[in-house]
Amino acid sequence: MNNIVEMRDIRKEFPGVVACDDITFQVKKGEIHALLGENGAGKSTLMNILFGLYQPDQGDIYLRGEKANIANPNIANDLGIGMVHQHFKLVHNFTVTENIILGLEPTRHFMINKKTASARIAELSKRYSLNVNPDSIISDVSVGMQQRVEILKMLYRDAEILIFDEPTAVLTPQEVRELMKIMRGLIDEGKTIILITHKLREIMAIASRCTVIRRGSVVGTVNVADTTEEKLAEMMVGRTVLFDVEKGEGKPGKEMLQIEKLTVEGTGGGHGLKDFSLTVRCGEILGLAGVDGNGQSELVEAIIGLRRANDGRVLIGGQNVTALSVRDRIQIGMAHIPEDRHKHGLILDYTVQENLILKNYFTEPFSRKGILDWNYIYGHAERVIRDFDIRAGEGAHATARSLSGGNQQKAIVGREIDGNPDLLVAVQPTRGLDVGAIEYIHKRLVEQRDQGKAVLLISLELDEILDLSDRIAVIFNGELVGIVNVDDADENMIGLMMAGGKKEVSA
């Protein structure tokens, strides 16, 4: 057998859901095997079982042809399995070396012997051309570099089977290319890679085989050379998917959102904003691209009124709102689809009908003289549920918590768009959603634009930005790098700008 990993009939149930429904999954030695599936399809659960974080209810795991009992991640490490998690597990004020040896520090006379470790890391870094300096402090290095430190961590532990969980989510296109080169280098050195992703393009670019999972079951395993992106998407979703957003020519009108020389403090050593200026017009979608943590959250909070501006102004519809409260800004016509729907978008313990009035419960006809009109609220909820295709078991009375992520997001989008805003600030509006829901939300955003609303789209997904925007602004380090028209933009150029490369402002 040349299968280095074989998971047979793996079953894992959580209360109410079957996360893995008799999954059989085989990986050959020396290949890059992609594991493709929508959010919640069960791919992470499967990998967490392989890494020893979960125990399967049923089924066996064979490594190199031998049955293995992986009771915890330490055993997985001993068996040569390593995992790079989506959110890196690094100590920020430690050096690269200290992070890598954490947990298996080489000691001599009860003293940590950093020198040998450091030398070995330098050697590994060279062999796999990772270009990591063992003595750098983590907080000083880029996200791409941090990821390479995570890779080094696995290599230092002599891992042969490397699991990457959505490794490109935090990288610029250039860094993605760099990562792919590294992955190929790892394969050349005889390692095996399992790549968890929902990005089809990456699979086509680097994987040799791909296993598609849908709702806890394996749809099939295919040779990447014999398939296309469309076919993979169809396997993943279960139906044909429209890739391109249908979108006509935009008709930009007057300025709706004006940000003038805005300076805002960052959170906990974050970037904040420096002298940031931007204008969004009616009838256009302005996409703001940038790598995570370059000041996007601070910008959003300053626009919606949750963060004080140190300097500069924010104008909505020509009115200076810099000193106004969140509620005042909402009443002027601002709507906001937040990045974190659980934290900022919904009150999970409230029902759908209660969530749908979160921003206008105090206005007539939802309430009169402080008394809520539940009949009206129920009717309103029923209508929004119908209009926005929100699927909830108990309809308006279902708690928001009981809805799937896609339907939670639809409820937020429904609430925000139903309020008929002039300005819509959409932050990562499709994060973690399945392809069907993404399609739907994209359509709604374009619809808003066509109705003459101003849309500010902030996203980490470059594809989303390129598909939806009329103009693209790029933020880096809290500063505006430049603005380009979408027709003049390509991935490469935006990628360079996301890494801070200046571009003449051309629009």
Partner: protein, 371 residues
């Protein structure tokens, strides 16, 4: 529809806690060598056997209803009010001070007393609210401190200004006009401690449940309690709501203080934090933080408190057993969250589920068939 299911489930859980608590109490009685059935008989008889006892049960329950309502209300809005005792003291102090100072006709005097205790308690609750909103001081810490500030204030003010004729440690008795006890009610319940406070309590239960369920104020307060971040992102003024919520919770406890010090009792003793302030936490817990639940739980605790004396008089069981039962019930009410959380797992090990598991053609044999 949904809420009704929820209420039913909460009710089952609370009943479950009560039954388990009584069961544990019964075990304890058995261990101490007495007969549980006889004990429980006298315990409940002591609280219910005649109209006077029933009146006393209600009178004992009255401050507990207020204290429980106070904790439940604050909790619904995401705050933990442990300051019930201090708020009761201040409410009681305001009531006593006015009752001993002014000699107005009874209706006017009682109205002023009720309002004064309400505002006194509201102030005592609002201060920790302001500290939390302004400086992010945790309300658990500040309300406990406020308890002691109230305690020592009473310790100073009562002997200084309202000293009783014989004892340094208590105030003068309030005049009849200042008491929430009224003759027709007292005689209706053949001389029990029952007073107007119970009606006030029921009115407050109704008002609070209306606020929570039907008003924009309640909607805001609960939104802040469930998810502060989402509330502020939706434009709700979180800080204002924190202060308001604590003020209302304090006002409720303050009213409870009035019903205790100028209703149930007739004077104030110094050097005692009223235990009802803390029992309110248990009442709210058993009542699943709902106003009506708090009412029912408070009456049940009132029954146990009233009956325990009779039980120990009629049997060899010490009255502490009754306190132990209350404590055990609280314990089970607190852990009922755990029971609820593991409900599915418990069901899994029910005989029916186990049978399904081993039955041929059950879950096991369907798995692993197809490749």
């Amino acid at each position: 529809m949904k809420t009704r299911v929820r209420v039913k489930k909460d009710f089952t859980m609370s009943l479950f806690a009560v039954l388990l608590g009584m069961l544990a109490g019964a075990l304890l009685m058995l261990v101490t060598g007495s007969n549980p059935i006889e004990n429980f008989y006298y315990l409940f008889r002591g609280g219910l056997m005649n109209i006077e006892r029933i009146g006393n049960t209600l009178a004992t329950a009255t401050p507990l209803i207020f204290a429980g309502l106070s904790v439940a209300f604050a909790f619904k809005t995401g705050l933990f009010n442990i300051g019930g005792a201090g708020q009761m003291l201040i409410g009681g102090l305001c009531a006593t001070a006015i009752g001993l100072t002014f000699s107005w006709p009874k209706p006017i005097l009682l109205t002023v007393i009720v309002l004064a205790s309400l505002f006194g308690g509201a102030l005592w609750g609002a201060l920790p609210g302001v500290l939390k909103a302004r400086f992010n001081v945790h309300e658990v810490v500040s309300t406990i401190m406020m308890n002691w500030i109230a305690y020592w204030s009473v310790f100073y003010i009562v002997p200084q200004y309202f000293k009783g004729p014989f004892l340094e440690t208590e105030s003068q008795r309030i005049p009849e006009a200042a008491s929430l006890k009224i003759p027709w009610l007292t005689s209706l319940f053949s001389g029990s401690y029952i007073n107007l406070g119970i009606f006030l309590a029921v009115v407050c239960v109704v008002i609070i449940s209306i606020i929570l369920e039907r008003t924009t104020l309640g909607y805001e307060l609960k939104a802040v309690g469930y998810n502060r971040d989402a509330a502020s992102a939706a434009g709700i003024n979180v800080n204002r709501n924190i202060v308001l919520s604590m003020a209302i919770a304090g006002a409720l406890a303050g009213l409870g203080g009035a019903t205790f010090y100028v209703g149930f009792a007739s004077n104030m003793q110094i050097g005692v934090l009223p235990s009802q302030g803390f029992d309110g936490i248990a009442v709210a817990l058993l009542g699943a933080n709902s106003p009506w639940g708090a009412l029912a739980a408070a009456i049940f605790f009132g029954l146990l408190h009233t009956g325990k004396g009779f039980m120990s008089a009629m049997t060899v069981t010490p009255p502490e057993i009754s306190d132990t039962i209350i404590a055990t019930i609280i314990y089970f009410a607190a852990t009922s969250v755990l029971i609820e959380r593991n409900w599915n797992r418990i069901k899994q090990y029910s005989p029916v589920a186990l049978y399904k598991k081993v039955r041929p053609g059950g879950v096991d044999s369907t798995a692993g068939g197809e490749q």
